[in-house]
Amino acid sequence: MEQMDYAGAGSFFIVFLVSLFIGMALSLQISTELSSLGLKMYTGKIVGISIIREIGPVAIALSYAGRVGSGMASEIGSMVLGHQVDMLRVFGIDPVKKLVIPRVLSSTIMLPLLTIIGDAVSLFGGYYISVFVSHQSGSFYWSQIRAIMGFQNIFSGIVKPFIFGFVIACISCYMGLATRGGARGLRRATTTAVVLSTIMIIITDFLLTRILFFVLGMQA
């Protein structure tokens, strides 16, 4: 519960901010481009698909890796350097069970929840720009969002954060447990955890997109 509180509730503010501004920026870009083609009314549809399938899960996972992943690596790393992990082993307690599994579980549960919240905030951000900056119809924007809320898009948007949460927590905990060499080692472990998580999120996103397209029968 403590880990879920740290990973979930503690990340709410950053997810809210990141999602809101991503939604607004995306809506602004798309409506500007579509406007030149006379297709501005489709802003909601493109913003919705982009956010739910791709940008929402990836952007929130990247924010999460920066905040929670680095925190996990540095917390476990400082426990290694302070011999707290050794003490667990002396007491006959498996550090993986005590430190890693709760973090992996909390990430795998909380990142999808944060992504759902973030997606919703992004869509509201997009709505704000569409209506108050691009002067489109608000009801039409939401009708387009409703239209793309099919199983394929929602499934695609929910599966990814499960995997991202698992990957971020595994990498961060591993780097934390592998910490050696004092403060410099801790810095290296934390940085590597975030960099590796970032790279793995991007690669996993591509692989998952390919797999989901195949599984859900979507055409490229």
């Binding site: 002396v90 006959g92 307690i93 498996d94």
Partner: protein, 247 residues
């Protein structure tokens, strides 16, 4: 009985231990002396299999534990308890929770019994008043006292291992820690709880130990009692122990 046979260990091509041979009974009071980086703490970790040697054998009570899997080490680890240099207290738990940690994990004691036992242990190490404090609110000496209380809470170890217990402490606190170490290992020479103290504080070592080992270049170059130590002809060791040499 503890037996270390021809232990060798290297870190990043730097040889830390180079053929350590050593036998001890659980009731012995041993000090491992040596300069920084000579592998003293590593030797303690090897006893608990917190580190594994490149070669050699670690035998505890006739059982070779050198390469036993983690899941089978609990029985041999239960014979020891270790107090690390900075105490290694769990910094997210307060003093009460730190001391109660093992009891909560492994015993079936009620919360009231745990509370009584925690208070008793803290009283024994002289810091019952710190029961509600967090580790970062404790001084270095208090942290080590809590660590000692915690090390006794889970089980009754046959031997205590101390990693630089007086390092960074003022002389009075260091003196109190030495008294406490002696108190926890008091009793008749064949029945008491033994100890291994790793330190470069020669005076502290002389106060708590009866057998002294000196590590140099990954080898034990001296093994003997206090009298032999103060009359050693080893120039490096004589320089190291000059504080306790007769003037």
């Amino acid at each position: 009985m503890i037996e270390l046979q021809d232990l060798r260990l290297s870190y990043d091509r730097h040889r830390v231990l180079d053929g350590i041979n050593f036998c001890a009974h659980f009731h012995e009071k041993i000090a491992i002396l040596g300069e920084s980086g000579e592998g003293k703490t590593t030797l303690l970790k090897l006893l608990l299999c917190l580190a594994r040697p490149d070669s050699g054998r670690i035998v505890i009570d006739g059982q070779d534990i050198t390469f036993l899997p983690e899941s089978k080490l609990r029985q041999s680890r239960m014979k020891f308890s270790i107090v690390f240099q900075e105490g290694a207290l769990f910094d997210s738990l307060d003093v009460r929770e730190n001391v109660a940690f093992c009891m909560r994990e492994f015993s079936t004691l009620s919360e009231e019994e745990i509370e009584n036992k925690v208070r008793g242990l803290l009283r024994r190490v002289g810091i019952e008043e710190a029961i509600d404090l967090m580790p970062d609110e404790l001084s270095g000496g208090m942290q080590r006292r809590v660590a000692m209380a915690r090390s006794l809470a889970g089980c009754e170890p046959e031997m205590m291992l101390y990693d630089e217990p007086t390092s960074g402490l003022d002389p009075i606190t260091a003196d109190n820690i030495c008294n406490l170490i002696n108190e926890l290992s008091s009793g008749s020479p064949t029945e008491r709880r033994g100890l291994i103290i790793v330190t470069h504080d020669v005076e502290a070592a002389a106060r708590v130990a009866e057998r002294f080992l000196y590590l140099k270049d990954g080898k034990i170059v001296f093994d003997g009692g206090l009298d032999a130590l103060t009359h050693t002809g080893h120039p490096g060791l004589r320089k190291f122990i000059k504080e306790i040499l007769p003037r």
